[in-house]
């Protein structure tokens, strides 16, 4: 006879406030095989676990049902507790009476009845639980970082410093990312390049780091500890090992019509180009769509001029396959398209720019060598208006519902460095709210007002009208005074909302990493596991997980690195024992299962079997590789004869639950 112990948690008042826990205990005590049942205030606490341990010893329990919060919270806790007293951890079932019951119901009688049902279903299932033992799998001691911005670089450096090999895949021709485009950074107002470029050099020179620039991840298979990744190294048309980076090709290239991505289109670049002076690797790349040689077959100037003979028009994409134990996503962000925000006049006037464009205009290495000018006239502006929340906090469907988080700080930064360099320029920031939490952040914003004389006016800009001779009129309400204003600035800067890189969704599908409605990667737990994806072995670093500034990105990058190192430090991983099992005595060898297995974990093998009638024979049957099986259960339904079953979720267990609930 089975001896089932049922432990009902109050979760303080979270459960007990809505569910009559004593009644649940009373009800389950009536069920045959339930040898012991009790309720307790906090079952997950040390005292609660002690209660379980003692009950197991006193009543010789062999199965445990805990009625508590979601198994996603504390299943592992209770399994570990069971293991401590000699019960196989897979003999534990959780009835989720918090998230599925007390938290969604108000009526106590109703909630209590549901809790009893859920407990009964868990008891029905646990009767069929079997002792399971996890298998082991090797860990490949190499990590992959996707994205070579500050997040990716920092993560890679931290992993490399811990002594593990790490590869960075960056889709642009250089690492550096968005931070390389910035001029100065808050809250210290130091030069972005001065602190980023040494890190880029460190990454390039580190013996444990391999850079794959101008490369993209093509495909991913495998699982935590054993990912197989194919990387597409796009053809640069320049032999990286021969190029000296002299840049003569980029100067002499006759194609000059392509807007520079790095300079946010404020300047044109050649068809062969190095994005910026400190690029790493400092090897040019030919943009084949812009290159006259590729378009017409004539030209070839770069090849003629190259002193090293490094130009190679015949280069093709190269596919590299590598095994990794862990993958870090650091795919960063872009600003949203302003196509749906015609009222701001972006596109209608060159003097309406985004904040990222302003960064290039004020950057000493930028298209104007740091002179702030109106793009339309080339003259210095006299009056600048900065508009916050452009496309952020917008639920109308045109923008993003979230706060982009970094804008309030960089608006203050921009206002400050304009006022510092050009004290005559009048700068006004129109805002809805100023959100500057963070160490030294609010002080920073106040400095803009108090020391730099930046005007802050509460009220979102309604529209920017561009008249025939290019003059800008900004319509806005000063909400504090209730006055309606019409202003004529020379330059309007739009603090445009950020959004994840467009590649995020594609990668999420490839890696089976979860993604939210805005395409940000979802973390395994918002508070307790913020740098891990719910998919084992996938980690998150930087903006790809949510808007964040550089200090936060760097902290998260370090945290992700620590998580990766923690994984790579293990020689073996315990695998999920809830894998498929084939009953070879009845397997017909149709191998339908092999077609649906996403992991190639099932193969057909000719094996000696004993049939149900006791006959020994050799025939083709399905064999599951438990190290590869991830336990999805696709095979169990594809199997026509029911030979395939999934441990932990067997047909019997699920049907027992169905019966208990119906």
């Amino acid at each position: 006879m089975q001896k089932i112990g049922v432990f009902v948690c109050w979760c303080g008042s979270n459960i007990a406030g809505t569910v009559d826990v004593a009644q649940v205990v009373e009800a389950v005590r009536q069920i045959p095989d339930v040898a012991y049942a009790i309720d307790y205030k906090y079952m997950c606490s040390e005292q609660g676990q002690e209660l379980i341990r003692k009950a197991v010893a006193d009543y010789k329990l062999d199965r445990i049902v805990v009625c508590s919060c979601s198994p996603r919270m504390h299943e592992a806790t209770f399994r570990k507790c069971a293991e401590g007293v000699g019960i196989n951890p897979y003999m534990v079932e959780i009835a989720n009476i918090r998230e599925q019951c007390s938290w969604v119901l108000k009526d106590k009688a109703e909630a209590t009845a549901k809790a009893i049902k859920l407990a009964k279903a868990a008891i029905a299932k646990v009767r069929f639980n079997g002792a399971l033992k996890p298998g082991e799998s090797q860990v490949v001691k190499r990590a992959l970082v996707i994205g070579g911005g500050i997040a990716g670089i920092q993560t890679a450096l931290d992993i490399a410093e811990a002594g593990y090999k790490v590869d960075i895949v960056e889709k642009e021709p250089t690492i550096g990312g968005r931070m390389a485009q910035l001029d100065k950074i808050f809250p210290t107002l130091d030069c972005s390049a001065c602190i980023l470029t040494p890190k880029m050099v460190d990454a390039a020179n580190h013996e444990n780091i391999t850079l794959y620039t101008y490369s993209e991840v093509e495909s991913v298979s495998g699982f935590v500890g054993n990912f197989d990744v194919t990387i597409r190294k796009k053809a640069r048309s320049v032999k990286a090992d021969m190029c000296s980076g002299c840049g003569i090709c980029t100067e002499k290239c006759p194609s000059r019509k392509t807007p520079s991505e790095f300079d946010m289109g404020l300047k044109n670049r050649g068809a062969i180009y190095i994005p910026f002076a400190q690029a790493i690797p400092k090897v040019p790349v030919i943009d084949r769509e812009a290159c006259i040689k590729f378009k017409t077959g004539k030209c070839g100037i770069c090849s003629k001029l190259c002193p090293a003979g490094a130009i190679d028009y015949t280069q093709t994409d190269e596919l590299i396959t590598e095994k990794y134990g862990a993958i870090v996503l650091a795919t960063g962000f872009k600003t949203i398209s302003l196509d749906k925000f015609g009222e701001y006049g972006y596109g209608a006037s060159k003097d309406v720019i985004t904040s990222l464009e302003l960064e290039r205009l004020t950057n000493a290495a930028g298209p104007t060598e740091g002179h702030l000018v109106c793009p339309s006239t080339g003259k210095e502006p006299k009056k600048v208006i900065i508009v916050s929340c452009v496309g952020s906090r917008d639920v109308s469907g045109r923008g993003k519902s979230y706060c982009s988080k970094i804008c309030c700080m960089y608006n203050a930064k921009h206002a400050m460095y304009i006022r510092e360099k050009y004290p005559d320029v009048d700068v006004t920031v129109f805002y809805i709210d100023v959100r500057t939490p963070g160490k030294g952040f609010d002080e920073f914003q106040r400095r803009a007002v108090e020391e730099y004389g930046v005007h802050y006016v509460r009220g979102q800009v309604g529209k920017v009208v561009v008249d025939g001779d290019g003059r800008l009129t900004v319509f806005v309400s000063d909400l504090n005074s209730g006055r309606k204003l019409m202003l004529n600035p020379d330059l309007v800067v739009l603090a445009t909302a950020v959004q994840p890189s467009p590649d995020a969704r594609k990668l999420a599908t490839m890696l089976t990493a979860s993604i939210d409605n805005d395409d940000f990667y979802v973390e395994a737990h918002p508070k307790l596991r913020p740098v891990e994806s719910p998919t084992a072995g996938i980690f998150l670093s930087g903006m790809c997980q949510g808007p964040k500034d550089i200090p936060e990105t760097v902290s998260q990058a370090g945290a992700a690195a620590v998580k990766v190192v923690g994984l790579l430090a293990k020689d073996k991983l315990l695998t999920n024992p809830c894998t498929a099992q084939c009953d070879t005595s009845i397997c017909s060898g149709c191998l339908a299962c092999t077609h649906v297995c996403p992991y190639g974990a099932i193969t057909g093998e000719s094996k000696p079997v004993i049939t149900k009638l006791g006959v020994r024979e050799t025939r083709t049957v399905a064999v599951v590789n438990n190290a590869l099986c991830q336990g999805c259960g696709a095979c169990t339904v594809a199997c026509p004869c029911g030979a395939m079953d999934l441990q932990g979720f067997t047909n019997q267990q699920i049907l027992a639950e169905v019966d208990a609930l119906c």
Partner: protein, 329 residues
Amino acid sequence: MQKIEKLLQKRAAELLAEGTVERVLAWHAGEFFYDNAPAAVSSADECDKLVYNEFCPANLCKYLIETSHAGKKTAVFLKPCDTYGVNQLLKDNRIKRELVYAIGTPCSGMLDIKKIKAAGAKGIISVSVDGDEVVVNTAYGEKRLAKADVLLNKCLMCKGAAYKIADEELAEPLPVPQFTGDKFAKVKEIEAMSAEERFAFWQSELSKCIRCNACRDICPACSCEQCIFDKPDTPVAGKAYADEVEEQMYHIIRAFHVAGRCTGCGECARVCPQGIHLELLNMKFMKDINSFFGQYQAGADSETPAPQVSFKQNDPEANSAVEGREQHV
């Protein structure tokens, strides 16, 4: 037909005599002239007892599982529709190609004795085919019936004279019943009924079932080593009434299990002693597979992945299958 029967006997004997095969699967006479049954012969001398005429509807391919299992190379006479079953068994790994010697056997449609009797023929002595007509020789004289009216139901869904797999062809193909209508016509008719009518129809059909398992035993797609209905430790167990779920769901589950593997041979309905229109369940799945996932004919070859173990990213959403359908309480 008599010519083909002679050829069949001759080829069977030759293949056995020269040792190409160890066994031959064909048909032999039953108690009456119209109930020819499957026969397995393993010596050339026995071959003269083999028969072939318009009363050999049985699809022999399922017996290949046994012979393949036993490792005996076996020749099998296959009507065009039977060849689909062989391909399906090959796809399901149930038989070994090298142990099968497939002989394409011409067919121009098999006759249904029940239909002949129902047409008023009494005291039947023999039946022969004369072009589009069937000549029934009875104790009360000769009676002529239109052949199309007395074909087996399964022949009304004839898939054509082509053999989908054959190591040799016994003779030139015969003209097959030209089926001009829509093979899903009956399915569509049921689909067009009101929900109440559909329920009433199926309640009346399925309540006839006596759970003899003949449909399952004849079905070339029901080729499992052990049927889930015979698995005592699953909650769907037992030939006898053991559990109301499997009792009530038997036909739905069976149809689901063979969906995408059923070649539409119609044997299930043919052997059903209660005359349940089982083919209408299978045909429904075939129609749905075609319309939801793209044209597919099980057994047309042995390679194309089956619809239930493949997918397209833009497959229709499940709920769309019943969207716009009449709802009832």
